[in-house]
């Protein structure tokens, strides 16, 4: 007796609790088994790369907030680093430390969100995500203290940061850092040791290191597959060469390991921030830009405009989601000639079909959660 089954198509998204935004997954199913998966994106496409070509270099900083809106600081940082590389600006010491602090705080906030939603995708009824959002909120409070905004921070500037931190910032941060290790212990105990989470995510969406490298994965996806590659160590920027931390890697290359890597990275972030709080020097927070590269256009009322020399630069940082790169081509004009974002969560979706085919819908949701996409960054 051979059962003849008909495949059918199911649309996960664009409105679905587990797609983390307007993301659509077209699954061809045989029963509960996925036999083909295709992602359909672009619902949040805002054509940022084109828009950026029409705005000055400084005006583009807010755009970088809105690509990866869960981790705005790192978006800012990667962009201003690309422009600085183009203009060969030396950033003052204190600004570099402030950038490190902000980037690491952002990593804490982003990984808290990613871990919580991953647990949610595994089927916990909102509890871990609420607990982790509690920590994220505290980090966002710090951001508010530093730059007045919580989500779209717009903090970094070409040549430094927009303003210095207030005096109460570091004590508040130290207080938070004292709380966090216990919390992270709690999450690891409750989630990483949870039998059901293990059952749901161990051995799901396995990628070998060779595959991970071939698919250009980055961030926790790459490290979850066991490749010790972290741009903070490999290509240190800001003040990362002055602090001590470890790269967290997984050993099995599955969804569980990606989650475990994120949790371990939160701990490393706390470690980095503790060192930052002690070692941050006094000094200027903004480089003096050459007058040749900064000039008003037209009349004196118009804003000062940064004009990098002709050329191109590719700057990359380790954002919470992976290698966030900005490729900027300048023609010497006041706005970029070409502005390209190497979006980690977009490229991390490349092996999506390979990861989901043969799984069930329930697994597909876990896979998507382990990739940790931000649709703003996927679509740009």
């Amino acid at each position: 007796m051979k059962l003849k089954t008909e495949p059918y198509v199911i649309n996960v998204g664009p409105q679905h609790p587990s797609t983390h935004g307007v993301f659509r997954l077209r699954l061809t199913m045989d029963g509960e088994k996925i036999i083909d998966a295709e992602m359909i994106i672009g619902y949040l496409h805002r054509s940022m790369e084109k828009l950026a070509e029409e705005r000055t270099y400084t005006q583009n900083i807010p755009f970088t907030d809105r690509t990866d809106y869960i981790a705005a600081m790192t978006g800012n940082l990667a962009y201003v680093m690309a422009v600085e590389k183009l203009m060969e600006i030396e950033v003052p010491e204190r600004a570099n430390w402030l950038r490190t602090i902000m980037a690491e705080l952002q990593r804490l906030a982003s990984h808290a969100m990613a871990g919580g939603t991953f647990a949610n995708d595994c089927g916990t009824w909102q509890t871990p995500v609420m607990h982790m959002i509690r920590d994220r909120e505290k980090v966002l409070d710090l951001f508010e203290m530093a730059c007045g905004a919580r989500l779209t921070t717009n903090y970094m500037r070409i040549g430094g940061v927009s303003r210095d931190i207030p005096p109460e910032f570091l004590p508040a941060m130290t207080k938070l850092l004292k709380e966090l290790p216990d919390r992270i212990d709690e999450y690891e105990d409750l989630l990483l040791n949870n039998e059901i989470i293990i059952a749901r995510s161990r051995g799901i969406a396995v990628l070998t290191p060779e595959e991970a490298i071939a698919y250009s994965l980055s961030g926790p996806m790459l490290r979850g597959s066991g490749v010790a590659w972290d741009l903070r160590k490999a290509d240190p920027y800001a003040a990362y060469d002055k602090v001590e931390f470890d790269i967290a890697v997984g050993t099995k290359g599955d969804a569980y390991d990606r989650f475990a890597v994120r949790m371990a990275e939160m701990r490393q972030s706390v470690r980095i921030l503790e060192q930052c709080a002690e070692m941050i020097p006094e000094g200027p927070i903004h480089a003096r830009l050459q007058t040749a590269t900064v000039q008003p256009i037209g009349n004196p009322v118009a804003p000062l405009v940064v004009r990098p020399p002709e050329g191109e630069a590719y700057a990359r940082i380790e954002s919470p989601r992976g290698e966030l790169g900005f490729y900027i081509v300048s023609d010497g004009g006041p706005s970029p000639y070409r502005f390209h974002i190497r979006a980690p969560s977009y490229i991390n979706l490349t092996p999506l079909k390979k990861m989901t085919v043969g799984m069930t819908v329930a697994d597909a949701v876990v896979v998507l959660g382990s990739v940790d996409i931000v649709v703003g960054e996927v679509d740009r």
């Binding site: 007796m1 051979k2 059962l3 003849k4 008909e6 036999i35």
Partner: protein
């Protein structure tokens, strides 16, 4: 069958049973037919209960309404043309004829038979009486039936397993292409 309540219950249950059974044949949608089948089973269970056979009545709900109907649903869902209704069947006339014949025969038998009316009271605990009968007097048929079902179940598992393993490899090949 004397007091008003029992009479009312009997007629309600009888109408529900027979009406639903008729609807099973009359509706064009297979899933609707299953739902009516469940209603019919429930009616029969109600009849059992009015006859103070509460154990049989509850087992009727458990086995027929709960389990058998799910099996029927499975069968329908696994049918390649599950979505169709049965309006194009050519078996309508023969079905009606056979059903009519059976109904006539049963009614004839029911009317013509000289039913013995027992003066004995019903069992206090039908469950206990049935249990004792099954495990005492009729132990051999009971065990034989059990063994038979076990064999049937094992056979089904073996058939499905062999086929399932084969079809799975086929699917994997398709995916890799």
């Amino acid at each position: 069958m004397d007091d008003t309540g029992t009479v009312v219950a009997f007629w309600a249950m009888a109408i529900m049973t027979v009406g639903s059974a008729l609807m099973v044949g009359a509706v064009r949608n297979l899933i609707h037919a299953v739902i009516f089948l469940v209603l019919s089973f429930l009616g029969v269970a109600g009849l059992y209960i009015t006859l103070s056979a509460d154990f049989v009545g509850v087992v009727q709900i458990l086995i027929y309404s709960g389990a058998i109907s799910i099996l029927v649903i499975f069968a329908i869902v696994l049918t390649p043309r599950a979505g169709r209704d049965n309006s194009e069947t050519s078996m309508l006339v023969p079905g009606v004829v056979i059903a009519g014949l059976v109904a006539t025969m049963l009614s004839y038998a029911a009317i013509e038979t000289d039913w013995n009316i027992s003066s004995r009271e019903g069992f206090e605990e039908t469950a206990q009486a049935i249990g004792e009968a099954l495990l005492d007097k009729y132990i051999l048929p009971f065990e034989v039936a059990g063994a038979l079902m076990l064999v049937a179940m094992l056979g089904a598992i073996i058939i499905v397993r062999a086929e399932g393993a084969e079809s799975e490899t086929v699917e994997v090949e398709e995916v890799e292409e």
